[in-house]
Amino acid sequence: MAALLATRALSRHFGGLRAVDGVDLELGEGEILGVIGPNGAGKTTLFSLIAGSLRPTSGEVFLSGWPISGRPAHRVVRAGVVRTHQIVRPFPNLTVAENVTVGAIHGSPRAPGSPRERAAEIVSFVGLSERAGELPGTLTLAGRKRLELARALATAPRVLMLDEVVAGVNPSEAMTLAGLIRRIRDERGVSIVMIEHVMPAVMSLSDRVVVLDHGKKIAEGTPAEVSREPAVIEAYLGKDHG
């Protein structure tokens, strides 16, 4: 069976820096794939390449076997791949409901109902119904992260790419957000790629984990396998010189 989302030797160089260097990635239907690695490993750049906000230097991205690399971001969204941002970027001049509606407009070919109705359903799915008429500036960081999730989810994606959704909120909120991510996969059937620094979250949610370091994939496997991998321990903790 062909993977839902796949990258082949995907690379992006900034001058002499190989931010992403020949990465092969596969995401199965209904899978949650964790992407981890030290700061500067190229995780977010990898997302930008898949989402179309950056053009790859070389390599390709496939969705259900069809090449989507080189397309502009808005067309990648229409194909069914959407990302969130590590630093949330709500539209401050639109209400919570309107923010989500912007995403819902472009999911309409894949999902039934008017954008406004679907937006309302998704706003309630992420638990923001009571704040629907308010501006994003009135939400807490955790609230804005839910909004970021909802707006991406409204595009009715087949693949949702989450860039550190759990990081930066308090432990109980982190638990709730992790639960929400699981529900997105279980109840809505969306396959997920997630970058995450919060290890308990990524290790418990992911079916498989890919580890990046200096733009290269250094390990891949189940969370348990990966955390035993010497190369991973070395990348995170450094070499044992003792």
Partner: protein, 333 residues
């Protein structure tokens, strides 16, 4: 001035769209019969017609400058292109009927706006500076293209007295259509995407908004409407001249009207255009030396203290009144 007050009420967000629509239709109907009922003199009719045209221009400017947040200092280019194409068509042999000439003028201005496509990669102040270049380039080309524009001496247009009277209604019709269109754009899924582009163009693209297409279409529509406005303007004064049509102060006027009234709102540019036309008339007659200086001061004050202009001021006043009404009820208890 009962008309603008009622129209203002029609745009108020708290009102039901049904009530707003009825009020709007009523105002347009009243304005349509006003010249006959109130027996407008030429001076009054000139001012009111000019106000209708400036309302159309300011609102169309606001589609790009307010909704998308791309402030253009070059809309005089489209105003002039629309005006001159319409003028040439009316002067051709056989002459085109004025409404056809205005329409084609608008289409030409809309096409001309598409020429700005490469500029749409720029955002904020960089876009604004590029539009100054667009406006000035158009002004120079049309001033020296004497065969087409008649150069600095301009062209006289064959508009008789009857047509001039009818132009009041044409201008009212244009203004009413542009008010309605602005409201519909603002409320539609296009409007919401324009506001998303204004807030964060990359984040908008990341949820599927085609920012380039939206900006192209809105800039062309905005240019086309401003072009039609230019055609009606030149026809009403039965004379057209590059300096007047393409002047930099013409471009500034569109910005000023929207900023005075409230950028990005529908009501704002309407109010702004009214204030602009009346103030300009008064200042030119009484204090011509202060005319531009006063606009400068007004602009600084608005941007510093009330970025939403008159609309923001009215909203603030409304909140204050509501608080005052609520207080006496609360205190005895």
């Amino acid at each position: 001035m009962t008309g603008p007050a009622a129209r203002k009420a029609g745009r108020w967000p708290e009102l039901l769209p049904l009530r707003g629509t009825l009020a709007f239709v009523l105002v347009v109907a009243l304005l349509a019969v006003a010249p006959a009922v109130l027996d407008f003199g030429v001076y009054t009719r000139n001012i009111v017609t000019l106000a209708f045209l400036m309302i159309s221009g300011a609102l169309a400017w606001n589609w790009m400058g307010g909704f998308v947040g791309q402030v253009s200092f070059g809309h005089a280019a489209m105003f002039g292109v629309g005006g001159f194409v319409a003028a040439r068509l009316m002067l051709s042999d056989p002459p085109a009927p004025p409404p056809i000439a205005w329409l084609i003028g608008g289409l030409a201005a809309g096409l001309f706006s598409f020429g700005a496509h490469p500029m749409l990669r720029l955002r904020g102040p960089y876009f604004s500076i590029a539009t100054i270049g667009l406006g000035e380039a158009a002004r120079l080309i049309f001033t020296y293209w004497e065969g087409f524009t008649g150069g600095a001496s301009g062209l006289s247009l064959p508009i008789d007295v009857h047509m001039k009277r009818r132009l009041y209604l044409w201008s009212l019709g244009l203004a009413a259509a542009v008010v309605a269109a602005s409201f519909l754009i603002r409320r539609s899924r296009i409007g919401i995407q324009l506001l998303a582009i204004k807030a964060d163009v990359d984040a908008a693209a990341d949820v599927g908004v085609n920012a380039t297409l939206h900006q192209d279409v809105i800039f062309a529509l905005s240019g086309a409407v401003v072009g039609v406005t230019g055609g009606l303007y030149a026809s009403y004064f039965s004379f057209i001249e590059p300096g007047d049509m393409f002047g930099f102060d013409r471009s500034i006027a569109f910005v000023l009207m929207a900023v005075i009234g409230g950028v990005g709102t529908v009501l704002g540019p309407v109010l702004g255009a009214l204030v602009f036309v009346l103030l300009r008339q008064f200042l030119l007659a009484s204090y011509p030396q202060l005319y531009l200086g006063l606009y400068g001061i007004l602009l600084v004050l608005i941007i510093l203290f009330e970025p939403l202009g008159l609309t923001g001021l009215s909203l603030r006043l409304l909140r204050w009144l509501r608080r005052r009404r609520a207080e006496p009820r609360a205190s005895p208890a």
